[in-house]
């Protein structure tokens, strides 16, 4: 393992060098809040920013993504044949991603990239992406990442982990992708590994200790699906829900999408959009029957999926990385931590 010391004064210059090969993404202040955006020339990520409203999942899994296209002109030989749209999959790097947000991509992978099925759009975008994480030295009150098998310094799905030590970043180079990015930036001030690891370990312990928010889910595995599904509390939990899509759209691990075709003149585009299980339309059948007709069923679905169906099916922990965005942004303050505790009790 290599640890590089980066003087913060040289950080932006380094990023500029990397732009020859990489499209950069990072947190940018937009109006009064932060969003993950593609960084234009001379735009740099805000590394001090608090959480972005939306998670970085859109860099690899965009809210609206073109998939296929077809020509509808019957005079053409290839008419009505769907072909994959051309998308730019040249290298991209996400800068300052929170370690648990990066871990969320591992969860998305369980759906989009399996032995049996490979979603080409996700896989190509994922392969093109270098994840440059920034360890969270001062976790906020919404962060319960350490309760769900990740944490403020989790390296699981990072190519590089940056640790802010004041005037410098220590860059822990984790993968070959990370190595390539760091070298393209021209960062080469390798530092003594032992000392650096000690510093990192201290900061990590401090950060993990600072996390005040916890959630227990140890008993969920021992409960049957029906026991939880038929639990008496769902109506009360769902009462305040307005069935908007906020929780699912801000979530780094929600992966559901809807496919749409749109035609204009002689061309057709097939694209997919994030979908939300909070919407009635999500499960409405063509017959008009809807297996999740009421909001209680929809609210239950979201929590059962994240906290029971997913863990049962994949045995990879919860479908949640504890970023706290849904807790923070839910308009009616439905709190997954509270519901998880209720399910676990």
């Amino acid at each position: 393992m290599k640890i590089i010391k980066i003087d913060k004064k040289e950080w932006e210059q380094g990023l500029d060098k990397s732009r020859k090969e990489y499209h950069l993404f990072g947190a940018v202040k937009d109006k009064d809040y932060y969003l993950i955006q593609a960084l234009g020339d001379k735009v740099y990520p805000d590394m001090e920013s608090s959480d972005t409203i939306l998670s970085p999942k859109s860099v690899i899994f965009p809210q609206t993504e073109k998939m296929l296209t077809a020509n509808l002109d019957e005079a053409q030989d290839n008419h009505h044949i769907m072909e994959r749209v051309e998308t730019d999959y040249s290298p991209r790097a996400v800068l300052g991603i929170k370690p648990y947000d990066a871990k969320a991509f591992k969860i998305l992978q369980l759906n989009f990239d399996t032995e049996e099925f490979k979603d080409p759009y996700f896989c190509d975008a994922y392969a093109a992406t270098t994840l440059v994480g920034l360890a969270v030295n001062n976790p906020g009150q919404f962060d319960f990442s350490t309760s769900v098998d990740t944490g403020p310094f989790d390296e699981t799905d990072l190519d590089v982990l940056l640790i802010d030590t004041g005037n410098e970043y220590l860059a822990k180079v984790i993968t070959d992708k990370g190595e390539n990015f760091i070298s393209k930036c021209g960062f080469d001030n390798q530092t003594d590994e032992k000392n650096a690891l000690e510093t990192i370990s201290k900061l990590k312990k401090k950060a993990e200790k600072a996390i005040v928010s916890t959630v227990s889910h140890d008993k969920l595995n021992g409960k049957t699906i029906l026991e939880l599904y038929n639990a008496p509390f769902w109506d009360d939990i769902a009462f305040s829900c307005i069935n908007c899509g906020t929780c699912t759209y801000v979530c780094p691990t929600c992966w559901c999408f809807d496919i749409q075709d749109e035609t204009k003149d002689k061309s057709c585009i097939r694209f997919r959009n994030w979908d939300t299980c909070m919407s009635r339309l999500f499960t409405e059948h063509a017959s008009g029957h809807n297996p999740r007709e009421g909001k209680t069923q929809r609210v239950r679905q979201r929590f059962m999926h994240k906290l029971k169906y997913f863990p049962d099916k994949y045995d990879q922990g919860l479908m949640c990385v504890g970023c706290g965005r849904c807790v923070k942004h839910c308009p009616v303050n439905i709190d997954i931590r509270e519901i998880c505790e209720q399910m676990n009790s």
């Binding site: 609206t64 899509g245 694209f271 919407s279 303050n333 709190d335």
Partner: protein
């Protein structure tokens, strides 16, 4: 604790005990600072969880059409705007007046949580209020601020703080605000050139993620299937195409014409801080100027868009 909290709890207990209503819709304390969670108290014990604060910014009238199983009356805590939406529900035949037991709450305004958050570089960890003073804390500092300066913009121009319909009141009525120019914000937009207006509205909706929180927090938006959710025919594209996004916002606003009470729930709910009231405000101004109409003041009055008068303004045709 807000002075209303204890009164609400006692009133709700009494209402439930006496059987004046089968349930009382109110708020309970949220799990995070500056959050209140809509909640239904079904018995006296539940009623202990009811609270009031200047963060109870959602409109509880929104929950009435969703209550299917209730043989007795539904109790509801209603501040001025909630009560006006209850009137609108009654006028639009969504619910019977007889079905309701309304606990009116003279309101002194809801706070703008997003503005308050901007006072801090870090997260707000505590929020409390003493009369007109808000005490807000983060890890690094404490601010004592005047509530009136941090009201939501709809509360700043509100002239109906007192409930317009109720069975009981939480307190004496409060003095209504006198607003010199209620639509200064709309006039600013009206004064723009067409290009400037396009630009303004394009920017306004550019961050929309189509979560529909604005629509779903709105008591007016009770259509069984919203036009954006229709699939046969599909009126509006589903993606992040900006024209589709704008179509949603513009059409939704028009569906609220003559009905909107400017309760601010749409903006309160928006996770992207989009000021969607910019659309409905203009329609409220038109309703007032053209029809001398403010929505939800009187259950005996039909709204201007479902009545016809020979002297209705028709300048737009001529």
């Amino acid at each position: 604790m807000h002075t209303y909290t204890e009164k609400i709890q006692n009133l709700a207990k009494d209402v439930l005990k006496q059987g004046k209503a089968e349930m009382v819709i109110g708020f309970k304390q949220g799990t995070i600072p500056m959050a209140a969670n809509p909640f239904v108290a079904k018995n006296e014990n539940d009623a202990d969880n009811l609270i009031w604060s200047s963060t109870c910014g959602l409109n509880l009238a929104n929950y009435l059409p969703g209550i299917k199983k209730c043989e007795g009356k539904i109790g509801i805590i209603a501040k001025g705007c909630d009560s006006r939406n209850i009137v609108t529900h009654i006028v639009e035949n969504k619910i019977d007046r007889e079905k309701l037991y309304i606990i009116g709450l003279p309101c002194t305004g809801m706070v703008d949580k997003k503005q308050i958050a901007l006072l801090f570089d870090d997260e707000i960890t505590q929020f409390s209020e003493e009369g007109n003073t808000l005490i807000v804390k983060s890890e690094t500092k404490e601010e004592k601020i005047n509530k009136q300066e941090y009201l939501r913009s709809n509360c700043k121009t509100c002239t109906h703080r007192n409930p317009v319909i109720y069975d009981e009141l939480v307190s004496d009525l409060v003095e209504e605000q006198i607003i010199e120019d209620q639509f200064a914000d709309v006039k600013k937009i009206e004064a723009m050139s067409s290009e400037e207006k396009w630009d303004f509205f394009d920017k306004l909706t550019e961050d929309c993620i189509r979560c529909y929180a604005c629509r779903n927090a709105c008591p007016l938006c009770y259509c069984p299937t919203c036009f954006v959710d229709e699939s046969g025919p599909q009126w509006v594209g589903k993606g992040q195409n900006t024209d589709d996004i704008k179509t949603f916002h513009y059409l939704r606003a028009y569906h609220c014409a003559g009905r909107c009470t400017d309760c601010g729930a749409c903006e309160e709910a928006c996770p992207m801080d989009i000021k969607v009231r910019n659309f409905t405000r203009k329609l409220n101004k038109d309703s007032l100027e053209l029809f001398n109409w403010e929505a939800g003041l009187d259950i005996s009055q039909r709204p201007p868009l479902d009545t016809y008068q020979p002297d209705d303004p028709d300048d737009f045709i001529m």
